[in-house]
Every structure is written in C-alpha cells, then in structure tokens.
Symmetry: C2
Subunit: 191 residues, 2 copies
C-alpha cells in the first residue's frame, strides 16, 4: 500500500474537511472527523494548518469557487434584483451558513477574514461595478454611481439581514425593498 504525501494528502484532507463542513456545519466540524475521513490522523492536519479556523477557511475556499455570473437583462433594476436574488439563494444554502459561521470564527484573525472575502465573489465589488457600468452606458445611471461602496450597498444590506435576523433566507419582499427603496434612490441621488 502506498502512503500519500505532500500535495496529494493535503488535497485529501481539504476534500474531507469540505465534506464535513457541508455535512455538519462549522460548529460540528472536528479535526478528528476530518482526519478520519481523509484516511489519516490529526498530525497530518496540524502540520498544515495551525487550527480549526484555518482549516475551515481553507476548506471553504475550495467549496466557494463557483463564481456567480452577472445577469444582463438590459435594465438596471432587473439586473440588480436578479443578482441580489442569486446571492440570497447562495447564502440560503448550507454553504451560506458555513460562510457566516466562518466569518464569525475568523473575526479574530485578520488574514483568515481576508481569505474568506477572497473566496466569496459576492463580497467583491467587481460584479456590482460591472453591472453599474453597463447601466451607465445605457444612460440609466450617472457615472458618479461607479463607486465601490455605493455599488455593493445592496448586498451589504442583504448580509445585514442574515447577521441581525439569523435568517435562513431573506424573503423576496426584502430584496425588492432594498432595491426600490434604497439602491435605486441612491443611484438617482448621486446624479
């Protein structure tokens, strides 16, 4: 029997950790179970990651590679609402719960936080800026709306729903309210 080493073993551990994450959530993630599922022991894990949080983040990054493609309906409102709905849907999955737990668990270590941010495309402003750029080209929005913090306001407000309400999912009415009562007025107001 061959003994796995280096990258091969590391890969197996990450795969195992990712499976455990979706199965049991971050709270239920145990180093022991990860090692067992990977067919190894805790030593191999601790040689690579300093602790549970770091492993959790590393495993999450492998799960959250699926980048959301940006909708292009020809209407700013529809684009925003659609992207917001996709994000909401993604956050409603067990993976979204994992992300939130991880965000809380990694709050102490700044580098881990950055790693999570990097992994979740929805957090980046690129998607939202791109969407706005097309609206500007169509004359639906002023170019002064192309501002990172402005662009991501809708998704930030949605995240707040999860954080403060502990919501499993945000109802569609909330998304509509965010778009119609805040995001679009904000874009208008920056003219």
């Amino acid at each position: 029997m061959s003994r796995r080493r280096g990258a091969e073993l590391e890969d197996a551990i990450l795969r195992a950790a990712a499976e455990e994450l979706v199965r049991s959530g971050y709270a239920g993630l145990t180093m022991e179970a990860v090692a067992r599922r990977a067919g190894t022991n805790k030593n191999a894990v601790y040689r690579r990651w300093p602790g549970k949080a770091a492993l959790g983040v590393a495993a999450y990054r492998r799960l959250a590679v699926a980048a959301t493609d940006v909708p292009d309906t020809g209407s700013l409102r529809d684009d925003v609402l659609e992207l917001l709905r996709r994000v909401n849907q993604q956050w409603s999955t067990p993976l979204g719960a994992v992300q939130r737990d991880l965000l809380a668990a990694a709050a102490a270590e700044v580098d881990l936080l950055a790693a999570i941010q990097e992994a979740s495309a929805d957090a980046g402003s690129a998607l939202w800026l791109g969407l706005l750029e097309r609206a500007v080209a169509r004359g639906e929005a002023p170019s002064s709306a192309l501002h990172p913090r402005v662009a991501t306001t809708a998704v930030v407000l949605l995240r707040n729903e999860y954080v403060t309400r502990g919501a499993q999912t945000a109802p569609d009415e909330v998304l509509i309210e965010i778009v119609d009562e805040i995001y679009l007025p904000l874009i208008r107001g920056r003219a």
Copy 2:
C-alpha cells in the same frame, strides 16, 4: 451565614457574568468562572439559563442599558455623522466586541438574537427616524425619507465594516464616506 435565593441570587449571577464578559470576552466566558465569581455553583446557573449563549445574552443586556442620546446640531449631515461616530465609538469598546461575538453565537437561536437587538439601542430604527424627522421639519429631507430601512442604512453599513473587516474600530474617513457618498445621496434620491 444566609443563603441567597431567587432574585437576589439571580442578580449576583448576572453581575458576575457581566464582569466575566468584559474581562474575558464571550469566548473566554465559562460557566464555572461565573458561578465561582458569584459565590455559587453551576447548578444555580443552569436552573435559570439553558446554556452559555442564553446567559451571555442576559448578562449583555444588563451591560448595554446606556441608551445613546441623539445629537441635534441643526444640520442633517452633522447629526448623522455625529450619531454614527458615537455608535462607532461604542462598538470599538470591548463591549462592542462582546456584542459581535454574541450576535454570532446566538445566530442559531432566534429568540436570543431578538434579545440582543432589543438591548442595543443603536440597532433600532427609532433613533435614526427621529433624527430624520427633524431634518424633514427643517426642509433638509423629503418626508419620503422616513422609512425604517432607509433611516438605518448608515449604521448597517458601519456594522458591515466590523463584520467583514474584523475591524477593532472603523476609521473616521469610512464614516464620512458612508455619510457623504451613500446616506445623503440616498436621502436626496428619495425626493
């Protein structure tokens, strides 16, 4: 020696838990230490609260009674910025860190979440709506701006800084950016 009972003992436990909370944070809070500091044992604690999260929230509520008074400078921008600065300052204290940890720890139990919300006045929309009402009276804002979600947008964005950046405190430039680039344009745009 007299043996404390009922409300008196409950009070001592809550006081002890609050002290432990500011000393060691929520992560370092242990039922054992709380009981010891209160001069009793874990039994008395568990007879009153089902677990660590519930006790933590109850203790936090006793700490966070200090309601922020709303500034009234005569200018919407100054009012908003000032209130935001006060909230930022409050969230920068150890107590703010406790609140964030608690928010994460109580994410599973909805009733606990509600209890935290209730305790932190800054989360409520009343403060922000009151501030806006005065601005409307002065003609600085349209009455259509009097909307709970709109009113609290600034503080929600600030919270996001803490959640996603793990910030100890948000720099003043961020507050200014939130006010000038988002909050005020939003108010304008709702005219």
